[in-house]
Symmetry: C2
Subunit: 197 residues, 2 copies
Amino acid sequence: MHHVNFQPKSTLFEQGDEAGSLYTLTSGTVRLHYDLPDGRRQIVGFAMPGDFLGLSLEPRFGITADALTPVTACRFDRHRFMNLIDKHPNLMRKMHEVASHELAIAQEHMVVLGRRRAEERVASFLLKWWQRLKRVQGNTPTLPLPMGRQDIADHLGLTIETVSRTLARWMRERIILDVPDGVRILDAAKLEDVLGN
Amino acid sequence: MHHVNFQPKSTLFEQGDEAGSLYTLTSGTVRLHYDLPDGRRQIVGFAMPGDFLGLSLEPRFGITADALTPVTACRFDRHRFMNLIDKHPNLMRKMHEVASHELAIAQEHMVVLGRRRAEERVASFLLKWWQRLKRVQGNTPTLPLPMGRQDIADHLGLTIETVSRTLARWMRERIILDVPDGVRILDAAKLEDVLGN
DNA sequence: GGCGGCGCTTGATCCCGATCAAGGAAAGCC
DNA sequence: GGCTTTCCTTGATCGGGATCAAGCGCCGCC
């Protein structure tokens, strides 16, 4: 196990690569995505400090992971990590907990992609990102958005124009405020109303 | 651990219930879905014989599971199963393998929901269902569809009309054939062409 | 300073799939 | 048999979000 650094836009691992490593993020934000051969892209999630990458037991990575910001992480060799696990059985349990939590999150996101309208999707994204940030940085109304508009669109199954228009409208309505590299949440209740639950 | 039976349309467990049990299906088909308070529904998957249900370690079920056909399953008490796991550590590993495979499937389905057009979604569904059936029943061009059109729509993020029209067109074009309680695949290559990879 | 590039916004128009609306076919039930 | 119910199909129309098309603002670079 050793520390590794990644520059913004660099790749941790790619869709189809042999899954030889396992990472835990210590700083920065990572984009996880599945690319279709014709260029369409689905971002299945964003990883933050504390998150694990590549903990699946599939022989190859199903998705690509690349850095949105400077990233620091701990890299483990897959085989050595598995040996470590044999000595510490509760580590396996921890891995399964993380994986099954990820599965629950993935299922919730399927609802967003399959059944939510554009405005609801953007509200869901802002609120979920905000919640995750709170757990890492404590409560702040200001959320940094290290991902670009196109990334948000590719996460939500929308186009960049729809994301941009929705955020622009909320800025006009004083629900959010434009700040450098992010937004400030002025009226979280309004966003929750949009979701209707 | 003991065997349990479920009638069609009966519920194995519901979204929000305390996750006290764990099942492995021995026969029948189960529908797994997440329901929004306003009635919109996303079917996150269908379970077949051999599949595990409720292997997540979250304290409550995030989804509802109900039987589409008569179902037989083995039910395990959550706590007892966990004790069993402490004695057989490789069982934990197996659980994690299953969960991380499910996660990979969920991520692929996000691409379908977020970035595929209607026709591609239906083709993806037929081909994936066909593949799963092959593993259970061996190779047959005839695939039973225990789920209704509305279920397929709720799985693919479409309306029942779009699913019905797409299948109807493929029947006219002799790509599939209408058979009682399912379809027969006449030209799998055409369906793969629709997906374009 | 001027220039280019990139990411984002904004407006105009289009179209795929949703919605609305009948109608048909099969199964269950009296 | 006749009735209801449920599921599916088919047609007509609509609309949300995609697409097409500029234009803007900022940053880095020469």
